[in-house]
Subunit: 140 residues, 2 copies
């Protein structure tokens, strides 16, 4: 296992529209992608490009969204997860399981169209960690 | 104001030594810098290189460390702040103040040897935000 690129930092927000205005008008982001829904994961997401990666804005979608409990504790929003790229999602899953880390569910298609999984923050130094197979054409 | 490079993600930890072992042995980091103390800020820090940036591990240093309260709420550690680069720290301070954002203290020398300041998380979508003048030779 070799540490991969930090694909994005996930930032939860009660309002993607308000966060888009903040990142555009206050932080000066010039490339903000169109928001879209991910019903299977209970989130609406929007990617904000930085010169060397992305911020993923995440808003709750539906009553069962896992983001509700995060926002109950952090009503203004806040840092939610870190996402690192790997070349092979199955090998990464086996690696982390072999290290005794809890993989949360089976790999599934993530916001960039490749397979992802999450690791339990209590096993990862308090950091909810997403592992993503590197999107096509974005390998380094 | 134009969004700059995400220089690093700050991750608080109760033990930098344990976190170094985690990032090296579990996450596969290959470039981990030597830890060092920043007494003026009440922290001991260690930078872990990723292919496109850094993770800054932060451990409390001294009884007055601002990290103690974070760890009281998050005993295992967790994501603490995001740090973005700017070309001119004074211009950035004036910009954020003009936007009604609370700058926490005067610019001071940060862990990379250039001037930094922090912005109040309640004004920044719940994200404690560090602004850093781009280190020499690292401009993009």
């Amino acid at each position: 296992m070799k540490l991969g690129r930090l694909n994005h930092v996930g930032v939860a927000t009660p309002s993607i529209e308000a966060s888009i205005a903040f990142w555009r008008d206050v932080m000066g982001a010039q490339d903000i992608r169109a928001p879209f829904d991910m019903p299977a994961q209970g989130v609406r997401v929007c990617f904000v490009d930085t010169p060397n990666g992305q911020i993923e804005l995440i808003e709750p979608l539906g009553e069962a969204s896992p983001i509700h409990s995060f926002l109950a504790k952090n009503p203004a929003g806040g840092q939610h997860h870190l996402c690192f790229e790997v070349p092979d999602i199955r090998a990464a899953k086996a690696w982390f399981e072999g290290q005794g880390k809890r993989v949360l569910g089976e790999p599934r298609i993530g916001a960039h169209g490749t397979l992802i999984f999450f690791l339990h923050p209590a096993d990862m130094g308090g950091v909810l960690t997403e592992i993503m197979e590197t999107p096509e054409g974005e390998g380094h």
